[in-house]
């Protein structure tokens, strides 16, 4: 049987002219590392779930991507993390949202799928469940990166009512979200 792994690290205003060679090389290195990690897992006969979790953990641990360490900041200066996982064989699924102390949210989503009768848990309850499952919990400061913190300060300075896509493009900067007069800009 074929075995294949595909990953993404986010979409948006990612332009070669804005990217310095060192930064581009760092992204390519981390994406390659995630692919290698997941490939080792499936080549070794483990499951696609194991490969998905292994690859995403690499990207969550890298400060380059908006997930886990390196996540963006909310208006209140917090890193609120979400994750989901789904098994194509059983249609089992697990998800968590709005957590701030779980080092690898994808592993918590998988624990919800495999160790509870639920599909989704949020906030403090999800963190309590993660602790019961012996997942690694960290101080919220673990997720801090200067670049994302500066991104929040910039957004607050430009207009504190606007949420920002982690790679929003010019189009999205002007798009008005009528309901809350809440523009999006990169």
């Amino acid at each position: 049987n074929k075995y294949i792994l595909v990953i993404h690290g986010g979409a948006g205003t990612i332009l070669k002219k804005n990217m310095d060679p060192a930064k581009e090389a760092a992204y390519v290195t981390q994406l390659t590392k995630a692919l290698q990690k997941g490939y080792e897992v499936i080549r070794g006969g483990k499951t696609s779930l194991d490969a998905v979790e292994a690859a995403i953990r690499v990207l969550e641990d890298s400060p380059l991507f908006n997930a886990g360490k390196g996540a963006v900041f909310t208006h209140d200066g917090r890193n609120e993390l979400d994750a989901a996982i789904m098994d194509g064989k059983t249609l089992g699924a697990g998800a968590i949202a709005g957590v701030t102390t779980i080092r690898n949210p994808i592993s918590a989503a998988r624990a919800v799928m495999e160790k509870s009768s639920h599909v989704m848990m949020i906030g403090l309850g999800a963190e309590k469940f993660a602790r019961q499952c012996n997942l690694e919990l960290v101080d919220p400061a673990y997720f801090y990166t200067r670049e994302r913190w500066e991104g929040l300060q910039k957004a607050l300075k430009e207009d504190s009512t606007k949420a920002v896509l982690d790679h929003g493009n010019k189009k999205s900067q002007r798009t008005e979200v009528a309901a809350y007069k809440d523009n999006k800009f990169g």
Partner: protein, 133 residues
């Protein structure tokens, strides 16, 4: 946002997505990533899908399940279904990307933004990493 979709030696598919959300977001706003059927979906009959982009539009279009449904009910390929699902997002005014992998190992990675960090590895170990359009 980061995501992965995989097909293993037993022929089983899986999908996963993890995110920090949006800068400066308020009120406990949650995007599509943790919503099964919106940002993340997997079904051995069709495909494994992980999305990235403007979450509100992916939730409203139920994008990840939409890709699977178009494959199951209309017999579209993973590439056709992913492209069509992304078109629906764009029509609503949203932007972003999708990675999808079907049960036969066919890959689709459409996106309607300037770039998307993405990559794949096949059973012979061949790794491809892309960033720009």
């Amino acid at each position: 946002t980061v995501g992965a979709v995989a097909l293993d030696k037993m022929g089983n598919l899986a999908a996963g997505t993890s995110t920090g959300g949006m800068t400066n977001k308020k009120y406990g706003r949650v995007g599509d990533s943790p919503i099964i059927g919106a940002g993340t979906y997997a079904n051995n009959l069709t495909a494994a899908i992980s999305c990235t982009g403007w979450g509100e539009f992916y939730i409203r279009s139920v994008v990840a399940h939409d890709v699977s449904a178009m494959m199951e009910y209309k017999g579209l390929s993973v590439a056709e279904a992913s492209a069509l699902a992304l078109e629906k997002v764009a029509k609503l005014g949203g932007e972003g990307g999708i990675i999808a992998l079907d049960k036969n190992g066919r890959i689709a990675m459409p996106f309607n933004t300037a770039g998307m960090y993405r990559g794949s590895v096949t059973e012979n170990g061949k790794i491809e990493v892309e960033i720009y359009k």
